[in-house]
Structures are given as structure tokens and as C-alpha cells.
């Protein structure tokens, strides 16, 4: 075991997997000498050479598009997009090709590849550096969308993503990159994609969240516990294909439901989770399934960002309201 930050866990996963499989190619803007602007790819070029870890030209469509070609020709590209807000130039490649090649060739061509990027706000970053638009990818048939919430999960899920036979969009909560350390195994291990994790057991209400937002949810859980309220918290971990079963089992037990996420509320992940609960646990519900999400606004620049982020307190207040519904 060693104590790693989420960022180090990502680096660890990449390092171990690259050692295992020399078909893994890691590239993106500044990932070579620089080791990535966050250092997620630090040392990889030194360890594995310039042909396995390098800077690409500054073009996200190019990064994703060439990765497609590599994967089709038997390599395993694990590319980095520098920030959430810069995936969009590559959106066409993702939606029109990454998500489709397996189905459109009836399984003849496959695309085992990973697109990693830091996502989310709360770090007082520049414009376009704080987005949480995972719903775009989750709504796109053919993609898997994974978001870890801890160093342990980051390493296990990233290794699973790399070993997956299908393309994975891997969103790393940048607000948590360096904020916590966790003891995690030194060797490679996997965490199944598509399985949620009940990170806290309780009976009062089921709260689904993921990524960086889970922190406030867990803080809320701890504070509520002091009042004798035990909430059940589910870390979604995979946004698509999400784990309906775990959510529904929990809601059938708690009879109440809240989903909390950072990205914009309308047409967001929360809406889907509410739909899921309504579909499968309607008669169990003792209060309306509820969502807390970012406002439907472009996430504000640093001086206004605090208005946007969802606080522990707001989660507590919302839960209390639902409990007294």
C-alpha cells in the first residue's frame, strides 16, 4: 500500500498498464516532457520512450481521430484532453466514430481506447476549464462514461477502462486531484465498470452522486448522522452504463431519493436518475425523487463560482426537507 493523491493514482495506473502492454500509447497536449499540465503523465515519457508518450499537435479532433486509427490498427491509445472545455473540437470524432464503429461494422471493428480529461469546477480556473458536461457523453449511444471519486477508484477504474474492449470517456475530478491522499495497493487492480458503489449505508434516504461532488454529500452524511439521520450514499462511478439495480434496491429500502451533481440541472444526469427511480420504484416513494444540480448556467468565472457550487449545507437542507415531506 502507498498513500497517493487521485492524480498520482491516475499516473500509477498509466505507469503499470504501460508496463504490462506495450501497445498502450499515451499522448495529448503537453503530456510528454511536461508530464501533462496537471502531471498525470509525469515520467511516462522517460520510462517508456517518446514513441509511447508524447506531445501531440494542439488539436483535439486530431488527437481523438488519430487515436481511432491507432485503435483500429491494434494499438491501445489512452489520450488526454487537457481540460473538459476542450473536448468539443473532438466531439465529432467522439460522436460520429468512437461511439459507433463497433455497431456500424456489426462487431468487426472495435475501438478499445480511453479518452481522459480533468473535469469540473471549484478551482477558480480560467474560462472553459471548469465544465461538468458528462451528460453529453452519457446520452451518446456507444460510449462508456466513468468518473472516479477517490484515488482508489481512480486507479482501479482507469485500469478497467484501459482493459475494456470498448471506448471509455474517463472524467477525472480535478478539484480532487491533490486534495486527498488514500492508501491504495501498489499493484494493478480493477474495479468493474458499470457498477455503482454504496459508499455509506443508511435507511433515511438514498443519495446518488459521483466525482468531486461526492465530497459534500459525504460531509452532509456525516453531519446528518450526528442528528441521528443515516443516509445511504451511492457513488455512481459509471455514468453510462449506470447501475440501475443498485439504485433501485436502495430506494426500495429508503423510499426517498436525491441525486446531486455539479453539471447543469436541466437535461442532466439528475433527470435521468429521477426517471430511473420513477420507472422502477414509484410505489415505494414517500417523497418526490429530487435533484440538486448546477444551475443551467455556464459555470461562472472565479469570483462568482461560489454561487454555483453545491454546498454541504444545501444538501443537508434538501435532505431534511425530503425527510419531512
Amino acid at each position: 500500500m502507498k498513500a497517493l493523491t487521485l492524480l498520482q493514482a491516475v499516473n500509477d495506473a498509466l505507469r503499470l498498464e504501460m508496463a504490462r502492454d506495450k501497445n498502450i500509447i499515451v499522448y495529448g497536449e503537453d503530456v510528454g516532457v511536461e508530464g501533462g499540465v496537471f502531471r498525470a503523465t509525469e515520467n511516462l515519457q522517460k520510462l517508456y520512450g517518446e514513441d509511447r508518450c508524447f506531445d501531440s499537435p494542439l488539436a483535439e479532433s486530431g488527437i481523438v481521430g488519430t487515436a481511432i486509427g491507432m485503435a483500429l490498427a491494434g494499438l491501445k491509445p489512452v489520450v488526454e484532453i487537457q481540460f473538459d472545455g476542450f473536448v468539443y473540437p473532438g466531439f465529432n470524432q467522439i460522436v460520429s466514430h468512437v461511439a459507433r464503429i463497433r455497431n456500424r461494422s456489426r462487431g468487426a471493428w472495435t475501438l478499445p481506447m480511453v479518452i481522459r480529461f480533468p473535469y469540473g469546477g471549484g478551482i477558480r480556473a480560467l474560462e472553459h476549464h471548469s465544465e461538468s458536461m458528462e451528460a453529453y457523453y452519457a446520452h451518446t449511444p456507444g460510449l462508456k462514461v466513468v468518473i472516479p471519486s477517490s484515488p482508489y477508484d481512480a486507479k482501479g477504474l482507469l485500469i478497467s477502462a484501459i482493459r475494456d474492449s470498448d471506448p471509455v470517456i474517463f472524467c477525472e475530478p480535478k478539484r480532487m486531484y491533490r486534495s486527498v491522499k488514500q492508501e491504495i495497493p501498489e499493484d494493478a487492480y480493477t474495479i468493474p465498470i458499470g457498477k455503482a458503489s454504496v459508499v455509506r449505508q443508511g435507511d433515511a434516504i438514498t443519495v446518488v452522486s459521483y466525482g468531486a461532488q461526492l465530497k459534500e454529500v459525504m460531509e452532509a452524511a456525516a453531519q446528518l448522522a450526528q442528528d441521528g439521520i443515516n443516509i445511504e450514499v451511492i457513488d455512481l462511478r459509471t455514468i453510462y452504463p449506470f447501475d440501475r439495480h443498485t439504485i433501485i434496491e436502495s430506494v426500495k429500502k429508503t423510499c426517498r431519493f436525491l441525486v446531486v451533481h455539479e453539471g447543469p440541472l436541466n437535461f442532466g444526469v439528475g433527470a435521468e436518475m429521477m426517471a430511473v427511480v420513477t420507472e422502477d420504484a414509484f410505489l415505494s416513494l414517500e417523497a418526490p425523487p429530487t435533484r440538486l444540480g448546477g444551475f443551467n448556467l455556464t459555470i461562472p468565472l472565479a469570483r462568482g463560482e461560489h454561487h454555483y457550487m453545491i454546498s454541504t449545507d444545501k444538501i443537508i437542507v434538501t435532505i431534511k426537507e425530503l425527510l419531512s415531506f
Binding site: I25, D51, S56, P57, A59, S61, G62, V64, G65, T66, A67, I68, G69, M70, A71, L72, A73, G74, L75, P77, P89, N92, Q93, S96, H97, I101, R102, N103, R104, S105, R106, G107, A108, W109, T110, P141, G142, K144, S165, D166, G194, Y240, P241, F242, D243, R244, H245
Partner: protein, 360 residues
């Protein structure tokens, strides 16, 4: 490599002219036997293409993009590369597919609206049809990287059209290819139009070929209706790529003699005289002239060959029409290696509905 044919000086590589006269330049060319093979390939493409259009007219085929007039580009390009070299097509390259050996059945099946048709290219190292314009050129560069990384002796030919050169992806592909020095040949079939949009409104540059120099490698414009020019250019570019010389851009100056697709009415945007003039430059016609001159074929033979292809096409298309349509399971089964529970749920729910309906 193409020093004598610098497109920036308005020069174009051409060897076999519209009258069927060959003017060699010392570079590699197809032998007479090769030309015979080329002719048969071009004829086969022409017949398949014509028949696809006529099936569409009969209401038996869906929208189809004819390649008529562009055969020399496609047959020449494949003849100049090896079996384990890659082809990354757009959507108008049926000739290239055929020449690379893919069974017509699958090609038609895809155009017939069945995804199964796209499953055939893998063993031939042909990627499925790509409709989002120029997006596939980046895939070619990635494949090029893989070939270089794996030290495979294989080059990649990426196809797009004159219109395709305007997409950002095409420029990005050229830029990545230049920096990575990958064995990729960008082959632009400049057929003068992107649907209705003439080349002159697509870009202000004189030739598309010269675009390459701005990305650090060579481009050449060739007579795309001249099988020898196509062969030579692709052959030289492939040799260079194999020897670590990196990418080349080839602009095949050509013309689409038919409509953009069977849904298109080209009379809305181009003059009959223009088409007529290009019909004189028909790549099949000129190669036929050459071969007739050389007494390597007779008119009767070509007639016979056409008939053979007609039969082949007829059979393939009947097989297509007799093929089962995708089932409900088919449309679900292939999105992921394993069907996610969420998809299985949608499938099961729909099946339950269909069963109830069937019981009524």
C-alpha cells in the same frame, strides 16, 4: 520526388492522354499486362456502379453515390499498393473496394442499408465507409502511426474529395502526418464539385495539391483520369512512405460524370456542355483506345467482360435482396462487447410489447 510536377508552378502529372497516347517520363508505369488488368478493374467498377444506379431507379436500392468517371483514380491507387497496405475510404470508392478484393455483396449490402455490409473490410484492410466528410483522414494518420510503431511494412491511402479539403479535420490530418512522418498518402479525388458547390467556391488556392507544402510535405496534382499517372504517383508516394519519407498528398484531377448521389439532380448546378467535355476524357475510353491500338483487346471482348460483370452484379444484388434484414436483437447486440443491463432492459421491454401485440 515530384520536382518536375510542382503544382505551385501550375504543373500536372499526366502520362496517358485522352487520345490513348502514352508519354512515359521514366517513372514507374503499369506494364501492358497491368493495363489490361486495370482496364478490367475499371470496367468492373463502371458496370457495378451503373447497375447500382439502375437498381436505385427501380426502387430496389437506397441512395447511392456513383463513381462514374473516377475509375482510374480508384483502380490505379489500389494497383500501386500492396495487399497489406490500408485503404481509408470516404463513400465514393466502390472501385477501390472492388479492386482490393472485397466481395461486391458486402459493398452493396451496406448501401442497401444493412450494417452487416460494413463488416467485410477488415481482412482487406479497408475501413468502413466514412460519411462525415474528411473525418476519416485522421484515422488514416493513426493507422500510419501504428504501422510505423509496429514496424509493419504497410502504407495507408486516405481518400477524400475536393470538398473534404475544407474540413478542419483534413488540415489536422495533414499536420499530424507531417509531424509524425507517417506512411500515409492523402488521395484527393478532385471531381470539381462538392455536391453542387464548384471547386472555385471551395477554396481560393489554385490546386489542392499545394496545400501539402504548408504542412511540410510534398503534394502533386495528377490527371486523375489517367491510370498511368495515378499508378505512378501512388507508387512513388508509397515507396517514399515505406522508406520512412512520410506523407504525400495527391490530387487526382477528375470529374464525376454522374450525379452526386441518386438523390441529386446535377442539372441544377452544372452545364451539359461541361459534362460532355469531360465525357471525352473518360478514363475508360482512353485506356480502351490505348489497348485497342495495341491490339490487346477487341471490342467484343470488352462486351463479353461487361456481360460477365453484369451477371456477377446481378447475382450479388439478388443475394443482397434475399438477405434477412437486421433483427431487433441485431440493432442492440453490437454497441458494446457485452450488452449493458440498461440496453437489455430496453430490448426486453420492447420484446414484451411485441409479444403482447402479436397475441392480440
Amino acid at each position: 520526388m515530384f520536382k518536375n510536377y510542382d503544382p505551385r508552378e501550375g504543373k500536372m502529372l499526366s502520362l496517358l492522354n485522352a487520345d490513348g497516347i502514352l508519354k512515359p517520363n521514366g517513372g514507374p508505369v503499369l506494364s501492358d499486362e497491368g493495363l489490361l488488368e486495370a482496364y478490367r478493374g475499371m470496367l468492373r467498377a463502371r458496370v457495378c456502379d451503373d447497375m447500382a444506379v439502375s437498381y436505385q431507379r427501380q426502387g430496389r436500392m437506397l441512395t447511392y453515390p456513383p463513381l462514374k468517371g473516377q475509375e482510374a483514380n480508384q483502380i490505379g491507387m489500389i494497383m500501386a499498393i500492396n495487399k497489406n497496405d490500408w485503404l481509408v475510404p470516404g463513400y465514393r470508392e466502390m472501385g477501390a473496394w472492388l479492386q482490393k478484393g472485397v466481395p461486391l455483396y458486402y459493398i452493396f449490402l451496406a448501401w442497401y442499408g444493412n450494417e452487416l455490409g460494413n463488416s467485410a473490410g477488415k481482412e482487406y484492410r479497408i475501413l468502413p465507409i466514412a460519411v462525415p466528410i474528411a473525418s476519416q483522414t485522421l484515422h488514416a494518420v493513426g493507422i500510419g502511426y501504428a504501422m510505423k510503431y509496429k514496424k509493419e511494412d504497410a502504407v495507408v491511402v486516405a481518400c477524400t474529395g475536393d470538398g473534404g479539403t475544407s474540413q478542419g479535420d483534413f488540415s489536422e490530418a495533414m499536420n499530424f502526418a507531417g509531424v509524425w512522418k507517417v506512411p500515409v498518402i492523402f488521395y484527393i479525388q478532385n471531381n470539381q464539385y462538392a455536391i453542387s458547390c464548384p471547386r472555385s467556391k471551395q477554396t481560393a488556392v489554385n490546386t489542392l495539391a499545394e496545400r501539402a507544402f504548408g504542412f511540410g510535405f510534398e503534394g502533386v496534382q495528377i490527371d486523375g483520369n489517367d491510370i498511368q499517372a495515378v499508378y505512378q504517383a501512388v507508387k512513388l508516394a508509397a515507396d517514399k512512405a515505406r522508406n520512412g519519407g512520410g506523407p504525400t498528398l495527391i490530387e487526382g484531377y477528375t470529374y464525376r460524370l454522374a450525379a452526386h448521389t441518386t438523390s441529386d439532380d446535377p442539372t441544377r448546378y452544372r452545364k451539359n456542355e461541361e459534362v460532355a467535355a469531360w465525357e471525352q476524357k473518360d478514363p475508360l475510353l482512353r485506356l480502351k483506345k490505348y489497348l485497342l491500338n495495341k491490339k490487346m483487346i477487341t471490342a467484343e471482348e470488352t462486351q463479353q467482360w461487361s456481360e460477365v460483370v453484369r451477371k456477377e452484379v446481378d447475382e450479388a444484388f439478388r443475394k443482397v435482396e434475399a438477405s434477412p434484414d437486421p433483427t431487433l436483437e441485431d440493432i442492440f447486440k453490437y454497441h458494446y462487447k457485452e450488452m449493458p443491463a440498461e440496453l437489455r432492459r430496453q430490448l426486453e421491454q420492447h420484446k414484451a410489447y411485441l409479444e403482447r401485440k402479436a397475441q392480440q
